[in-house]
């Protein structure tokens, strides 16, 4: 079924009970991931990372180093996957593409006046087109939270649909910035708007606002994806970003994906972690699972 792409087709979002969500999330966290399941899970996490640098002070040198790491996570250890993508500002897309393109690693670019989104639509469209023309495989846009909180849902919907149009073949990730939406009811509503307006992925946060990718928020968004799949048979991807800096939390995210959406989503085509420091903690856990000993952070490269 093709997407309707008009807000009139948007179903009313179900309410979300925070207490119930917290309880459910606690159950995911009580899953015990051991032995081969842990090793498999950790490698899966690595393969799902969007290795990210989004700072005003980013330099070509910094981006170049990060891109090299994307394809060489820990060369001393055999059979490690590469990360899924690198995530940079539009100005760094061309450079990043020139390094990781040959490794099958995607380049994701933030756009639409990231992180605030406080710019007119023309600017956002130009921003997005620039990134796509420079070789971005994926676009991470932000929604207009101010308009959303003012109740202008049609504005938010139309803006996403317009950005989707200029993405071409690049996959569109829509950042809700859940830390600014405050309630889980709003998170659910914004998820539905993004999905029905054409998002290929929905993403929690920019990483600039706290709280970011809490399990509660991610769970609520996964339920929206589940409901859309049940309605239409179409899969939507999910990307929690910001605050997932350790392997255990990442594994609990995977538990949640498996139990809410199913095994089909346990794939970097459908699930990503937006993170800058997660990779090293996962690497550390992989070494520990193998050798039984924790190594010092000095044995893992900081890029």
């Amino acid at each position: 079924m093709p997407k309707a792409n008009t807000i009139n087709h948007l179903p009313s979002s179900p309410s979300v009970d925070k207490v119930g969500v917290e309880e459910r999330v606690a159950r995911f966290q009580s899953r015990s991931i051991k032995n081969h399941a842990k090793m498999q899970g950790l490698k899966m996490v690595l393969s799902m990372i969007d290795l990210t640098t989004l700072e005003g002070k980013d330099t070509p040198g910094k981006v170049r180093q990060m891109c090299f790491k994307a394809a060489h996570l820990h060369d001393g250890y055999p059979d490690l996957p590469n990360v899924a993508a690198v995530c940079v500002y539009p100005s760094m897309v061309r450079l990043a593409k020139s390094i990781v393109g040959s490794h099958g690693i995607n380049v994701a670019s933030v756009s639409t006046a990231f992180p605030s989104g406080q710019a007119p639509l023309e600017v956002k469209l130009t921003d997005t087109k620039y990134a796509v023309e420079n070789g971005a495989d994926e676009i991470d846009m932000v929604i207009s939270r101010g308009k959303f909180l003012a109740g202008e849902y049609a504005f938010v919907f139309d803006e996403i649909a317009a950005i989707k149009e200029v993405c071409g073949s690049a996959r569109l990730k829509v950042i809700l910035e859940t830390g600014e939406l405050i309630t889980l009811d709003n998170v659910r509503k914004a998820s539905d708007i993004a999905i029905y307006a054409g998002a290929d992925f929905i993403k929690t946060s920019t990483g600039k606002i706290q709280p970011a990718a809490t399990l509660q928020v991610t769970y609520t968004m996964l339920q929206a994806i589940r409901d859309y799949y049940d309605e239409t048979g179409q899969m939507i991807g999910m990307k929690p970003a910001g605050g997932i800096s350790n392997a255990k939390l990442a594994l609990h995210n995977l538990v949640m994906v498996k139990e809410v959406l199913g095994q089909e989503w346990l794939d970097n085509k459908w699930f990503r972690f937006g993170a800058s420091s997660l990779a090293n903690d996962v690497l550390m856990q992989i070494m520990k699972t193998d050798s039984g000993i924790y190594q010092s952070g000095d044995y893992f490269t900081l890029d």
Binding site: V16, V19, M44, A84, Q263, L266
Partner: protein, 481 residues
């Protein structure tokens, strides 16, 4: 770039049993000592997961019960009723602390003996059992504040008979308020789950309670009957089936024995179209599949508003696929073993009836362990109010689903049951909650949650679900005259 590696199953994560201490053979704990049963008979307590023998347990007869009740009567008359309330509280606090120290051992034994998942034993049963002792320890010296301007006295010997679904927790529900109010106790655990009550006897012994204040006797129905019938038992507290509850009523008719009976249930869980649906689905799961459905207040009758029925049932079926069924000691197990072969047979009999009646049937498609007593989570959809499945308590992981259109209709149907223990209401609208909670004839009504327990909250039923309240302030009153 797809990873194509997405078949990810949890590895077994089995809780260790190296730290538990079980004797090969347990006598009766009477008058502060372990004694051989006069019957000389013992029976085996087995692990419902693999049908392996765990320990031999004494089978008490009339003479043993007489001995236990007389010890309790003497302890009440000479010691416990004269112990100062603050001192009683100290003993109960001590029991609570010792239980906490041994929580891990108690959880593992509970899971082994009853078949319940270690996660539930560890996170719910044992902590809640400890909390009951802590809670009632606090009341022991504050009874004058609980019942101002009344001269309350202890009743005497409480005969307490508990079921197999929450063995240690039910022992705590019974013993803690009885001790806080100055009564002495003869308690009989269910025959399939005696072990944690016997461990509790060891804890009570270690806590230095005066001999005879708590006596723990094991056995079958006739042992329980002997407790109820003993003339020196002044108060009967029973949790279990309605059939046995009726027998107890007959036995004590014409005597001055006080009683509280907490019996069966067929509780309605009601989902309105404005409910937070995903959380309601969790509530349905928790309502009926918690402890394999061996819960007297299980939400075993689901009422879903007609316009969302398809959606809710689809979500429910999907959610059921992620339930992990199997070895109760696996930390990831959500659904453990049915408590006994007998209970499994009862459940299967009902499933057979349901299939013959022809309402839509759904079971999770999963591999069950080869040995042991297992039943997959089961739904019967579009069940009629007049179906046996919707009327009788199954006490297993079997949910009946009915639809409704209006509030009045669902209230009528929910109340149209010989039972009245609990109910659940799921809606985003506060006014609807208050409307329903005031009209549902059930002892406990949960709003937007289910199966939540707290020592401070009273619990008990209407109609054939029994009478009297346990827990909270109300639970104290039942042990005072």
């Amino acid at each position: 770039m797809s990873t194509k590696n997405n078949n990810w199953e949890y590895a077994a994560s089995i809780e260790g049993t190296g730290h538990i201490q079980l004797k090969e053979k347990y006598g009766l704990y009477i008058n502060g000592a372990w004694v051989e049963p006069q019957s000389k008979a013992y029976f085996s307590s087995i692990n419902p997961h693999n049908e392996e023998h765990l320990a031999d347990v004494a089978q008490a007869n009339d003479k043993d019960i007489d001995r236990a009740v007389k010890a309790a009567e003497k302890a009440h008359r000479e010691v416990w009723s004269k112990t100062t309330p603050a001192e009683r509280g100290k003993y109960i606090f001590r029991i609570a602390r010792l239980m906490q120290e041994q929580a891990k051992e108690l959880a593992v034994i509970e899971s082994l003996d009853s078949g319940k998942p270690i996660r539930e034993a560890r996170d719910i049963d044992i902590p809640l059992a400890c909390n009951h002792f802590f809670y009632y320890a606090g009341w022991a010296d504050k009874l004058d504040y609980a019942f101002p301007n009344q001269k309350k006295e202890s009743i005497g010997v409480a005969g307490q008979i508990i079921p197999w679904n929450f063995p240690l927790l039910m022992a705590a529900w019974k013993i803690a308020p009885a001790l806080a109010t100055g009564n002495t106790v003869v308690l009989k655990p269910a025959e399939t789950t005696s072990l944690t009550a016997l461990k509790l006897a060891e804890i009570i012994d270690a806590a230095g309670l005066p001999p005879g204040v708590v006596n723990i006797v094991t056995g079958f129905g006739d042992t329980g009957a002997a407790i109820v019938a003993h003339p020196m038992v002044s108060k009967v507290a029973f949790t279990g089936s309605t059939a046995v509850g009726k027998l107890i009523q007959k036995t004590i008719a014409g005597t001055d024995k006080k009683a509280t009976l907490e019996l069966g249930g067929k509780s309605a869980n009601i989902i309105f179209d404005d409910a937070p649906l995903d959380q309601a689905v969790e509530g349905i799961i928790n309502g009926i599949f918690f402890n394999q459905g061996h819960v007297c207040c299980a939400g075993s009758r689901l009422f879903v508003q007609e316009n969302i029925a398809d959606k809710v049932i689809r979500k429910l079926k999907h959610r059921m696929q992620s339930l992990q069924i199997g070895n109760p000691l696996d930390k990831n197990t959500d659904i453990g073993a049915i408590n006994s072969a007998d209970q499994l047979e009862i459940i299967n009999k009902y499933i057979e009836i349901g299939r013959k009646e022809g309402s839509e049937f759904f079971q999770v498609d999963c591999a069950l362990p080869n040995k042991g007593y297992y039943c997959p989570p089961t739904l019967f959809i579009n069940v009629a109010q007049s179906s046996v499945l919707a009327q009788e308590e199954i006490f297993g992981p079997v949910l009946t689903i009915q639809t409704f259109r209006t509030v009045d209709e669902v209230i009528q149907k929910a109340n149209n049951s010989p039972y009245g223990l609990a109910a659940g209401v799921w809606t985003d609208k506060g006014s609807k909650i208050f409307n329903l909670t005031s009209k549902l004839k059930a002892g406990v009504v949960w709003a937007n949650t289910y199966n939540k327990f707290d020592p401070a909250s009273p619990f008990g039923g209407y109609k054939e679900s029994g009478f009297g309240r346990e827990g909270g302030l109300h639970g104290l009153g039942a042990y005072l005259k």
